[in-house]
């Protein structure tokens, strides 16, 4: 109680950096809608097993070549004769557009596309968020080391980043995936299994490190010459203390701004790798692999390719809008790829 009276007499304490930014972000309607969209998509994808068991009643990872499904009171084959005059070839069942089995139709192996979309979304989101985390942590480490310690540490790290930077990002990802997808990699303690998601997570995480590490390094070099760091050095503060209390908070706010943009970039990269069948490996799915499956059905069952593409566009768009909002709230001058 006594605290409250003390507060009433004094001016209220100024809200902190994060509180100010948070309030700005909450007032940004586009960013808040995007956040809500992302949460809804994540919840839908999390409900994938429930959907497969209770709504679509199929196993989306097992081909169902001779199955049947009841629609409009008629029993129909999941993979029926094609709808051309001679009934040549086989065509998967089309979408019913209502909750139930084969809401978005079947793919060429008779699997429920809607259920695969949800499972695929789980993998796509998991890979893009995890690889963004890998990227941000590695970039913060290398950027801070290079920027703070300078000298040969900086020169070594900068050359590595430059070489990685000059490498066409996409070709690097493809090269690494092709080599590693066949048999994984084994460095003793550090082991990546070829069929697990950790492989695309690591590859996609590493390739964008220079995008973030270079701006972080520039930021740290600027901070090192700032007056308050000079003052800290002057009163004999140890390096770890300066790093922890003066450098890291600034770096973290830059990383928060970059985070949604990197997640968006990673989602697109994962989709592209999976589309080239060197990302997520069958029978597992991601939005990219479903577009790949849908390409061969594009003229007969276009929805198989359209639906996962729309899911990617909506998710990436929401991430980009959220990124714009965060940048406006936290650091209007932050630039990726700088």
């Amino acid at each position: 109680m006594s605290d409250m009276t003390a507060n009433e007499t004094l001016a209220p304490p100024a809200p902190g950096y994060w509180a100010t930014a948070g309030r700005k972000l909450v007032r940004d309607r586009a960013a808040m809608i995007s956040l809500a969209v992302l949460v809804v998509i994540a919840l839908l994808c999390a409900a994938a097993p429930w959907y497969a068991r209770h709504v679509s009643h199929t196993n989306p990872f097992q081909s169902n070549l001779s199955g049947t499904v009841v629609r409009h009171g008629r029993t129909m084959e999941v993979l029926g004769a094609a709808d051309n005059p001679l009934h040549l070839g086989i065509e998967p069942i089309g979408p019913s557009w209502r909750l139930g089995p084969y809401m978005l139709g079947a793919d060429q192996q008779g699997r429920d596309v809607a259920a695969r979309m949800l499972y695929g979304g789980r993998n796509s989101l998991l890979i893009s968020f995890a690889s963004a985390a890998v990227c941000l942590v590695l970039a913060a480490l290398t950027g801070i080391l290079a920027g703070f310690f300078g000298g040969w540490v900086d020169r070594g790290i900068s050359f590595l980043l430059d070489a990685l930077w000059a490498f066409p990002v996409f070709l690097l990802a493809i090269s690494l995936s092709v080599v590693l997808i066949a048999h994984g990699i084994d460095f003793g303690l550090f082991r990546l299994d070829a069929s697990s998601l950790s492989l695309p997570i690591t590859i996609i995480g590493v390739i964008y490190v220079p995008y973030v590490a270079r701006p972080v390094r520039g930021l740290v070099i600027g901070l090192r010459q700032s007056e308050y760091v000079m003052a800290a050095i002057g009163i004999g503060a140890p390096a770890w203390r300066i790093l922890w209390y003066d450098i890291l908070p600034n770096v973290i706010s830059a990383l928060v701004v970059f985070a949604p943009l990197i997640v968006a970039l990673d989602l697109l990269t994962e989709a592209a790798l999976s589309f080239l069948s060197i990302g997520v490996q069958p029978p597992a799915a991601s939005w990219g692999t479903i577009i790949h499956d849908g390409e061969s059905l594009i003229y007969t069952r276009p929805v198989v390719a359209i639906a996962p593409g729309l899911a990617i566009v909506i998710t990436v768009l929401a991430l980009n809008i959220l990124g714009d909002g965060l940048r406006d709230a936290l650091d209007p001058r932050a630039k990726l790829r700088n």
Partner: protein, 324 residues
């Protein structure tokens, strides 16, 4: 100035060397990656693998293998494919290059034109509905996977709407040589051009808008206004010229990456036999010499265009000459 150029070129060669070593290590020295076992096929006997190693020189020390491969790519140019035995790799890359250049060059013209118009319009009508609409469209352009846009373009121009007046002129997928039929070349490439350009229109329009808005705060703009120029003259003659620098930098990098194989997805979706397509085929058959050749070709393009951008920068802006 000459010193700057010289230093930049030395740096360029060093980075190229670093990249070529990196690529070589990825394909030939990754723990567990055994090129000989791959060429020999699944379940090959150890004797077969040993014979393959002997034949392809894979049992030699890595630095020797690296040296031989670089010699075969750059000097003798007789590196042969592991898959189509006897097929020379380097001429194939050079045959594919014009296709990629046609695709990327045309797309670049489209994206620069549209991005400048959209960026300038958005900045001129800042904070009105026009600005907001253009920026939302740009953001959507950035958010679409290019291979999906291409697939959708095929769906409409080759499938559903191909028999309507709108798209009946679209030729079947594939490349038509310019020397054979210039108009056919144009018709075959216009849809891929637009597909590839969409992402960059969005990206550049946003960058240009931001740069223009920043430039409009500068002192020289106030001077231009004070001497009685109309708002349009200020924007187009003074501000736009200054803001284009940021776009030029991006353009150098992106053009290099795309010509170097970054247009792979577009080429695959539209069946254009460019360098990216070549890489894709080589990846499917795990043709290591072909992959090495295309990736090295790509990095040469990227590194050279990086250097050109830096040197142009130094030529335009004396402040940049002292750095590095």
């Amino acid at each position: 100035m000459l010193g700057t150029i010289f230093r930049r070129l030395v740096h360029m060669v060093a980075v190229l060397f670093g990249i070529s070593v990196l690529v070589f290590l990825i394909f030939f020295a990754t723990p567990g990656a055994n090129p000989a076992a791959r060429i020999a096929g699944k379940n090959a006997s150890p004797q077969t693998i040993a014979r393959v190693e002997q034949q392809f020189g894979l049992n030699r020390p890595l630095p020797v293998q690296y040296g031989l491969m670089m010699k075969k790519i750059f000097i003798t140019r007789n590196l042969t494919s592991y898959v189509n035995l006897g097929e020379k790799v380097v001429p194939q890359v050079f045959r594919a290059a014009p296709v990629t250049l046609s695709l990327v060059g045309g797309a670049a013209v489209i994206w620069i034109l549209f991005a400048v118009v959209i960026g300038a319009a958005a900045a001129a009508f800042r904070n009105t509905w026009i600005d907001r609409l253009l920026m939302v469209l740009s953001l959507i352009g950035i958010s679409m996977p290019v291979f999906w846009v291409g697939t959708m373009a095929n769906l409409f121009t080759q499938g559903i709407w191909h028999h309507t007046l709108l798209f009946s002129w679209v030729p079947p997928l594939g490349y038509i040589d310019f020397s054979k039929s210039p108009f056919g070349w144009f018709k075959a490439l216009i849809i891929p051009w637009i597909t590839l350009a969409i992402l960059y229109i969005g990206l550049y329009a946003r960058v240009l808008r931001a740069a223009l808005i920043e430039t409009m705060q500068e002192d020289f703009i106030r001077t231009a206004r004070a001497k009685g120029l109309t708002e349009r003259q200020v924007l187009l003659r003074h501000a736009l010229r200054c803001s284009l620098v940021s776009v030029v930098t991006l353009f150098g990098l992106d053009f290099g990456v795309l010509v170097g194989g970054g247009a792979l997805l577009t080429e695959v979706v539209f069946g254009l036999q460019g360098v990216g397509y070549l890489t894709y085929q080589a990846l499917e058959t795990l043709d290591l010499p072909m992959i090495m050749a295309t990736v090295i070709y790509a990095s040469v393009f990227v590194v050279v265009s990086n250097a050109v951008v830096d040197i142009l920068y130094a030529a335009f802006d004396p402040r940049m000459r002292l750095r590095r």
